[in-house]
Amino acid sequence: PADTRDAAQARVRSAPAPVTDVARLCVCDLLVAQCDTNCCCDPDCSAEDFSLFTTCSVPVVIGDSQLCSQKAAVYSLDVEANPPERIFKLIDQVNPSIFCIHATNYKQALYLKSPEIPTAKNFDQLLEKFGGATFSAEPDSWNLDTDAQNPPEANETSRYEYGAPVQTEDAFLRLPSPVVSSWCSDANPAGFLVNQATKCIRSVSVEKCDSIQALSMLFYINSSILASVFQVNITVQSVVVQSLNGMRTLLSSSEVLRLPMVLDELCINAVLGVNYHITHTDTGEIIEAAAAFVLGAISREALSIEQSFEISFTQENTQPVPLSGNPGYVVGLPVRAGFQPQGYPFPAAFPFAPLALSSNKHSQLTILHSTSTQDCLAAQGARAPVLFGYNMISGCKLRITAAMKCQPLAQTLLDVLKGQSFPEYVASFGNSQAQDVLDWVPITQLHISEQMIPHSLQSSCQIPVSLGIEVKWTKYGSLVNPQARIVNVTATITSTTLKQLPSGRERIIPITSSVVFTDISSPAEPSYKAWPTINIKLPFDFFYPFV
């Protein structure tokens, strides 16, 4: 009785047998016990339904077309007859290819595998095989290794590549970040050369604050980073203590490790932010690691705190200069500009002398920034950086009274339009170095004066009213990954004549400045590698004894 019951259960639980007879298969039969429109193979349709069809949506039902000869069910509508009727033919379809399958001794070749029905006996095995997030198509040949935390040998971690997780003794250098929701997840590894800044929320309670690992400094500097032959310890660069009202104090001695502890219903020395600075060589070996902490206090009512984390990578012996692209400009990053220092001769005369172009942030290419007051003279100094690829226009209004003198006004307006230090050179690539003179494009300055009256007097007043910067760029490099390169920068100042106003009157003149980026790339020409040539030389006595 137990056996028959098991057998009956097994029969009930097995999947229904697959249908392989082409005469009975119908893919367009979707509605149960109803006729699907234009479905000629639907068994629920009667002859009257067929007379209403216009075409057959499924004309042929066939098995694997690679077989040499197989049955095919052909459905068609005979529209000549009145009423139209469906024609069903079962024909033998022949594959004329010489590589058609004549016979096969491997049953699973032509059919999809029926899935195993889980029973009490094979459930554990099926769960192990298919229960994870992924499973391989050939489970017998691969072994699923779910433990991905194995750190490889030391000689593999010597050189890091961009994006590779930075490995430490136990696992990876952790940069807690929000995953899915805003709660901190500690499983986010820091990628090499990937500068990241994350903010996330961690749930805390003041009573258990010294037992929560993520609040203590040790958690972040505990393990040392694996790099080439030795391990790099993470040093504490600085500690800033933030009080409850937000005031931050830099501690003078940063060697002392401050651990969180409960004091007067507050939890002090809790980590609110960590800023990692990793120094590396140009070959990808990490040589130094430092962490700057922000410690704070948590009050009793707080159930969660926000922690912020940042990591930045610097190459040794260099000053970190933010690049605007590598090598082509990236849309949205500022256009880098610079000056030629005084005393250096014109670059063309000395092509090999390295020109030190100062490219600090304050001498960037900037444009007038429109303010809410729209008064040119009041808003001097508000500038916005020119971002590559973003056409900008800004302006202000200038109120001219009779008392204003021409020359100082013109000079003021020139300052308003161009800024305090208008650069002379613009970098042609996003990563142009200051010492490569040829990578910098000089800014061409043009002056256009609008003559309102053709026969104006010589002593009439010309004031600049608009500055138009046109940046011409081209696509450079390979066809699949073109890089943006600035070719020409022209700054055009348009001046207009200022007529002398009668006293007491005033005029308002609009002043505009704009930046336009124009793509002047010529259409790309694909070029192909040369055909390989085969050099065959016969030895000179090859045709002995005939020659």
Binding site: S97, I98, C100, H102, A103, N105, Y106, A109
Partner: protein, 135 residues
Amino acid sequence: NNSSQLSSLPLHILLHVNGVYYIFYFSATLAMIIYKSQVFSYPDDFLAPDLAVLFLMAILEVPRLYLGFKGNLTEAEAPLGLSLGLTVGSVLLCVYLLLWQTYVLWADVLLNAVLLSAYGLESGLKVMAIAAFVS
């Protein structure tokens, strides 16, 4: 004087043709097995026996042809008889490739049928040659 020469010329020609045809057959069958393994689902448990049979047949072919030539030219029945025995083995392997391979393509059927007919004709000629040498 033709009557004193017992070596069979048709057998010699057929052995030559068989040798050349076998080289073509081996490379074509190997290429088709590689093609099948890429296009169809061909697990290793099924691929191994097919390849083993093909290479075994190639290994058997060399002594079989050599003994056939030698026996025919030296008019000795022992090598010819041995060659006949090896031919039986080759016929069985050829039948396997024709009927019991994992995927039998139409080109497989053609190649194996031609080879089987060549083997059959050869066996007939060898039997006649042995009869001529013995008597």
